[in-house]
Symmetry: C2
Subunit: 204 residues, 2 copies
DNA sequence: TATTACATACCGACCGGTCGGTTTTTGAAC
DNA sequence: GTTCAAAAACCGACCGGTCGGTATGTAATA
């Protein structure tokens, strides 16, 4: 095996072990030794690949941000009409609230660290700004097309993203009570109803 | 001064110092010594009043829960019609998202700890269940009165509380971008629009 | 005097990070 | 293809310091 491949493999094992341990116990509680043990790697190898514990954390954050970016781009593009793309992006929120449950503790860690470390803050805030911007842009399109009421796009985008965040969080915290089937899509649908011009229940 | 009063004062000082330190630095990062220093109290006094660090944390949580209970009861009661009470309770969400910003780090701590310690989990989940229940009850009233569309009360309540949680969180994380004036009320209004029967924008 | 309230010194465990040394890989000379 | 030295990857013992909690004592109240 080439050295490069070995090195990359070790690095990858450290990262995936880190996300597993951080998810399980939080940033402060998880020790570097924990991560090393879970990754079958020595402490020396750890500090050979990363300058500090926080560096690993930030690397994870940036990796997640890249994924998110990709997802938004692929969903928000496409040539269809604004409302279609909007509800597709909104539907993504519902999916995330179900699929992403296991990752929520990690998001909580991101938020918590963001309040303390400025460099983490900037990276953490970014995805939400992008989400809101993507929604606002779509809503603006919808308004110009005449398919949505003339609301403030930014406020509506904030409302949508807020509901997404809240759904994910409550679903993770209290799956039994706050995460019935289709809860996400149902809730989002209620909000889109408030946005629609001449809502469909009286035009159909 | 009586012994009782002195004891109560010390206890109160520990609690308020704890909430200040936990808010500032998080649960794990804040040491018992930190709290003692901020409260001008010795470690002996600390462990005389509380059996452990976690016990202080839970005491804070329960205190907050009591306040919340009081608030919900006073707002959700009152003799007016359901929609009035509903929007008043919803308006509270908007207020919380502005006033409660400084407390958000503490809520994050609650959620984080809830994922690990079962006894914390139960206490943490409770307020959201009560919030949802209060909303669902009001929405049910509104539907029976005919002032709201016949949606699923539980789903609508989940949507409302989710938006509240999301607004609070984003407002705290990114005040500059995610917390324009009236953002909370504006966002909630959009959602209530989706709930209203024969919304005013197409009857006017 | 008995009990409650508080103070201080201290313990063992643990943690992030370092460091000297060892193994593995690499690339170039032969 | 073999050799070999330098570089990269890796190892694990160790260090200074911190932390939650305890043990033991003193001062104030009842």
């Amino acid at each position: 095996m080439t050295n490069q491949k070995r090195s990359d493999g070790t690095r990858a094992r450290i990262l995936s072990a880190a996300v597993e341990r951080f998810t399980h116990g939080g940033y402060d509680t998880t020790s570097v030794a924990d991560i090393c043990a879970a990754a079958n790697v020595s402490k020396g190898a750890f500090y050979h690949h990363f300058p500090s514990k926080q560096a690993v954390f930030i690397a994870l954050l940036e990796r997640w941000l890249d994924e998110l970016d990709e997802t938004i781009r692929s969903v928000a593009a496409g040539g269809e009409s604004a409302p279609v793309r909007l509800s597709r992006l909104a539907g993504l929120v519902g999916q995330v609230s179900e699929l992403g449950t296991g990752r929520v503790p990690m998001f909580l860690e991101f938020w918590r660290q963001a309040a303390k470390a400025p460099e983490v803050w900037q990276v953490t805030v970014e995805p939400y700004r992008r989400f809101r911007a993507a929604f606002a842009s779509l809503i603006g399109d919808g308004i110009r097309e005449g398919s949505l009421r003339a609301v403030d796009p930014d406020a509506a985008a904030l409302a949508l993203v807020s509901m997404g965040v809240g759904l994910v969080l409550q679903g993770a915290l209290d799956p039994a009570e706050a995460q019935p089937a289709d809860a996400g899509e149902h809730a989002v649908a209620l909000l889109l109803e408030g946005l629609a011009r001449g809502s469909d229940h009286d035009t159909k």
